[in-house]
Amino acid sequence: MNKAAKEKTINLLFILPAVALFSIFSLYPIIRTVQLSFYKWDGIATTMQFVGLLQYKDIIFHNPAFWKSMANAAYVTTLALTFQNGLALLLALLVSREIRGENIYRTIFFLPPVLSGIVVGLIWKWIYDGNYGILNHFLTGVGLSHFTNFAWLAEIKTSLTAVAVVHMWKGFGYGFIILLAGLQTIPKELYEAAKVDGADSWQQFKHITVPSMIPVFTVVAILTILGSMQIFDLLYSMTQGGPAGHTHVPITRIYQFMGNGEFGYSTAMSVIFGCLLLAVSFIQIEVSRRMNK
């Protein structure tokens, strides 16, 4: 065996486990999901009925509940993109100023994201509870007696926002860490030069920080969009899609159909949802690329 072939073999050896794992646990499920979406199958029967694009047609034109759930996910995503990332950026800017105990803040802010979604959901469900909730106890304590038995998760006006607040609380730590890492890569000389030229803090932020951070903002935005659109565990443990379906998101709908033996239909929903997420991510990358030019 010559040297080049030997090197090629060794290289192959290194990537083979990763390729194998990726193929088994990612590629194959994706291909199988797309394949199943063309069949009517209850997940148990040994035979499947080929229905072509019929299920796609039904979802797109005759399933308003699915699109309503998409709108709910978009609402949560919009809140997360603005408030969650806004808070993450603010905290990252504060911590990047070489303050004392920087690592302690990092750890504290990164704690919520590493907690289990179901556990966080159940804890917050208790906080919001109309009968026992500490939130109502506090509000009543400060004189807002209207909230004595207010069920935050069972009211149409508050349920989705209440879940979104928890989602943002749980998620801002990711953005914080990434943004902080991004801020620390900006050369200090740029700020020093700007100061010499008489730029104030706002001008430094606008003309140095923001342009330098656009690639990082893109990553954070994409992760936020993907994470928020796919919200499931929090919602499932807090409202199960209620009241009256007002907090359903695409994943809970997909899960609902799958749980009721509509495997083919739910995989078609998954494919549509996956394609939409891909499209949003590509648009985001393209916009950021143009802004970066």
């Binding site: 148990i44 109309g130 149409i156 807090m238 209620g242 009241p243 033996g261």
Partner: protein, 425 residues
């Protein structure tokens, strides 16, 4: 050389996948998957006794919550990894899929040997597929009930007394029920809690009134499509929720309340009444052993032409894996488990109603009321409504509770879904 290396890597990657298949059922002679976490200790005791008597090892494995269990069973079925005994935890349509795919054994022949005569008829009929059933299942008995349950309204006697109500005479009519709610609310007590976030419980309550207003034939005609969900009798069913909402009977957050929360709300005296199953006796005992309560039938509507019915019959049923080499051992164990002595033991330890009629003698007063009302549970129907229609009913009843929809709007939506599903078929 390169080929040998590639071959070795491929073999190494395949080893874990080949070695894990088919091993799952060999942990014991009979492996049973179940979701009843509160009964694991009692089950283990029973299994140990059986092994001592017969030398056949039995292993109970718990997977919870029930949705996770259900998903696991489905996945195991498609992977041909089902244990000897399991339950689908689904409705008849789902069970029929398992049977038609060959995963569930027909126990009719074994039942004819005297086994059947010891068990309550109702839960057995729910495990039976009659001739000409809509799911095209070969007629037969496909499951073994291990206990019996019914869903009724629990009421807190102390809170009733506090509100000036007679705890010995709970409300029998719909009007008296609403009046009781008014008195409870006036005394600062939340009248009614239940896990209405879980679609099935709100559906159970609605169904009780559907049986009351339409009777069996009316329900069958609705499923067939000859009676519409906008029919006046159905409007009366939806009116139940509107009336209760109007009289402020629901506990805070009932529309997103899971049953575990509702059980806690009732057990801690935060609500005076709760719609719950007979398993609640065990749950309330574990939450508050001093809770002073009674049970009552959901009160009949004055316009209801038919007897009031409640959800119930089979509590938990188990199925035998038709493809297991230890199928006979599994059936033998289930026969032994549903025999009088074992059923008495399980009933005492788990505070449930046994499926063996001969073991129902020593029940507590509350469980006796449940057992007496097994005869009033819904009849097993040869057809079922689509899950999508049921889902719209459940969701729209929540919408009525929170004041989002009127009963006419809900009726129109349910009928529209019915038409949609009829067209889809």
């Amino acid at each position: 050389m390169l080929r040998i290396v590639r071959l070795l890597i491929a073999c190494a990657l395949l080893v874990p996948f080949t070695s894990c298949s088919q091993n799952i059922s060999r942990k014991a002679d009979v492996v049973i998957w179940h979701w009843m976490t509160d009964r694991q200790a009692a089950f283990e005791k029973i299994a140990a006794q059986y092994e001592k008597e017969t030398k056949v090892s039995v292993l109970f494995e718990t997977y919870a919550p029930s949705e996770v269990y259900r998903d696991k069973v489905r996945a195991a079925a498609t992977g041909k990894l089902l244990p000897e005994i399991f339950s689908t935890l689904g409705d008849k349509r789902e069970v029929s899929s398992f049977i038609n795919a060959g995963y569930i054994a027909d126990l009719s022949a074994d039942m004819q040997t005297g086994w059947k005569s010891h068990l309550f008829d109702k839960p057995l009929s729910q495990n039976t597929f009659p001739e000409g059933n809509e799911w095209k299942v070969k007629p037969g008995i496909y499951g073994v009930p291990i206990d019996v349950s019914a869903i009724m309204i629990y009421y807190n006697k102390d809170l009733f007394k506090q509100a000036g109500l007679d705890p010995k005479n709970p409300p029998q009519t719909w009007e008296a029920f609403l009046e009781a709610g008014r008195k409870l609310r006036a005394a600062g007590i939340q009248p009614f809690a239940s896990g209405f976030s879980e679609g099935w419980l709100i559906g159970v309550f609605a169904n009780s009134y559907a049986w009351n207003m339409l009777g069996e034939q009316g329900i069958l005609d609705t499923i067939k499509g000859t009676i519409k969900y906008t029919d006046l009798r159905w409007l009366k069913v939806y009116q139940v929720f509107a009336d209760m909402a109007k009289h402020d009977m629901f506990a805070s957050g009932i529309a997103t309340m899971v049953n575990k929360d509702a059980e806690r709300t009732f057990a801690t005296g935060k609500a005076a009444m709760a719609l719950n199953g007979s398993w609640g006796v065990n749950v309330y005992f574990s939450m508050n052993p001093n809770l002073n309560y009674g049970v009552m039938m959901p009160p009949k509507m004055s316009l209801g032409e038919y007897p009031m019915r409640i959800f119930g019959g089979e509590g938990s049923s188990l199925n035998v894996n038709a493809t297991s080499p230890n199928k006979d051992k599994a059936i033998a164990f289930l026969k032994w488990m549903t025999a009088k002595e074992q059923q008495i033991q399980l009933a005492q330890e788990t505070k449930n109603i046994p499926s063996n009629q001969e073991a129902a003698g020593g029940l507590s007063d509350i469980l006796k009321i449940f057992a007496q009302n097994i005869k009033n549970t819904f009849e097993s129907l040869p057809v079922s409504e689509s899950w999508q229609v049921n889902n719209v009913i459940n969701t729209d009843m929540q919408a009525i509770i929170i004041g989002e929809k009127t009963i006419d709007q809900a009726a129109a939506e349910i009928q529209a879904e019915k038409m949609r599903q009829s067209g889809a078929k």
